[in-house]
């Protein structure tokens, strides 16, 4: 393996680490804001389940990511440019405190680099269509499931008068729902990096074009995302946990369970969804059980704008980097 390949794998794993760092908020925002766990305990819990996901889920999402661009198009410089665009966009949105999607940043980044290298024909329209449809569907799916679970819980327990005891019960149940969500997050997001490393190894003729993801790549990606979560990003916890809507233990439980179910369905089907989109939709869903005005739509709207800009933003950065690299990196 050449030093270039090793360096790009290191950058890909750094992206995975930053993905965990950036998205740690999604896994732990509700358990922290409802005071079920302290921030430190919460990140350790989420990081463990991020890593454990490797033993449960396959690599269907990694296969989808590696197919976003026509086989044979990518070279080392383009993969580097794609990763650079995604990381740059993640850092910008992190500095602004916006919970955008690292996954879509990665897709936008890879697309930008591929277009700069070989034009629009290098993109696989069907894969983009799948990702684009689920950009809209995943938050709505999280929203509907969370609303349904929350209303179901209210319906079952509406005669129960011991509210304190009930809250205690849901605080404990949130440990399970947060673990499920972290499991889904680890499975779906770590696989995106696996897809990039797979594309890199194929581009360098280290693996045949139809190869599956090697075990060392699976373990490295899950370790990187787990470590990233362990060093979690606190700026976004605030936006996710309290600014969109005030979250109670029952709401946290419903939102995490709904988001976990939606992400797991997508992961098993090989769809790279955004864990950020899904949990945001689910938190809005729990807020809507009170009334629509319980949701702070101004903050939710800012988040939606960041979503809309993520793929074009990362695309433009990567396109620029690849255009420069094309002349320099032969």
């Amino acid at each position: 393996m050449t030093i270039t390949v090793v360096l790009i794998i290191a950058v890909a794993l750094a992206f995975d680490f930053f993905n965990g760092f950036h998205d740690a908020a999604n896994s732990i925002a509700t358990v922290v804001s409802t005071r079920v766990l302290t921030p430190k305990q919460a990140v350790a819990w989420a990081a463990f389940w991020n890593f454990a996901a490797f033993a449960i889920f396959g690599t269907a999402v990694a296969a989808t990511i590696s197919k976003v661009v026509q086989p044979g198009v990518f070279n080392n410089a383009a993969i580097f440019a794609g990763l650079f665009g995604a990381i740059a966009w993640d850092i910008i949105t992190w500095l602004l405190g916006l919970p955008t999607s690292s996954s879509h940043a990665l897709v936008g980044g890879m697309a930008g680099a591929a277009v700069a290298l070989s034009g629009w024909d290098s993109l696989v329209a069907a894969e983009f269509q799948k990702i684009a449809v689920f950009i809209v569907l995943s938050p709505l799916f999280g929203f509907l499931l969370a609303f349904t679970i929350m209303t179901g819980i209210y319906w079952v327990f509406h005669r129960y008068r011991k509210v304190e005891k009930l809250n205690r019960g849901f605080r404990r149940a949130q440990l399970v729902s947060a673990a499920l969500f972290s499991l889904g997050h680890g499975a779906n997001d770590a696989q995106k990096t696996m897809g990039i490393i797979l594309a890199l190894l194929i581009a360098n003729h280290r693996l045949p074009i139809d190869a599956s993801v090697p075990v060392w790549v699976v373990l490295a990606a899950h370790s990187a995302i787990g470590l990233g979560t362990l060093f979690g990003g606190w700026r976004i916890v605030h936006t996710m946990g309290s600014k969109i809507t005030k979250v109670q233990p029952v709401g946290g439980f419903s939102a995490e369970t709904a988001a976990a179910a939606a992400i797991m369905v997508a992961t098993l089907g090989g769809v790279p969804v955004s864990t950020t989109h899904t949990i945001t939709g689910a938190i809005v869903g729990t807020g809507t059980t009170q009334r629509l005005s319980a949701v702070r739509w101004g903050v939710a709207g800012r988040v939606v704008w960041a979503w809309v800009l993520t793929i074009p933003g990362a695309f433009v950065v990567s396109f620029g980097v690849e255009t420069v690299l094309k002349g320099v990196w032969k």
Binding site: A126, Q129, F134, L137, L140, G269, V271, T288, R291, L292
Partner: protein, 76 residues
């Protein structure tokens, strides 16, 4: 009768899910259909709640105004 925003919000979610049905890969269309089903279910339930709530409010208003008229008439 005033129709609240919440049922309409769910109707909008159902419409979006169904509009996205053609571009969704065939393997995943069940997701759109399930979502549309759940959203329509809540649209109907919340709609009924709104209508009943409206009827109750108008009945209560009518009852209250009738009571106050009777009270006024009974007063010496």
């Amino acid at each position: 009768m005033r129709f609240g925003r919440r049922p309409l919000f769910f109707l909008a979610v159902a419409v979006i899910s169904l509009l996205l049905l053609p571009p969704t890969p065939s393997d995943f269309r069940w997701v759109n259909l399930t979502m549309a089903g759940i959203a329509l279910f809540w649209f109907v339930l919340l709609g009924i709640e709104e209508v009943q709530g409206d009827r109750l409010t108008s009945d209560e208003t009518a009852h209250l105004s009738a009571t106050s008229t009777n009270e006024r008439e009974e007063r010496p």
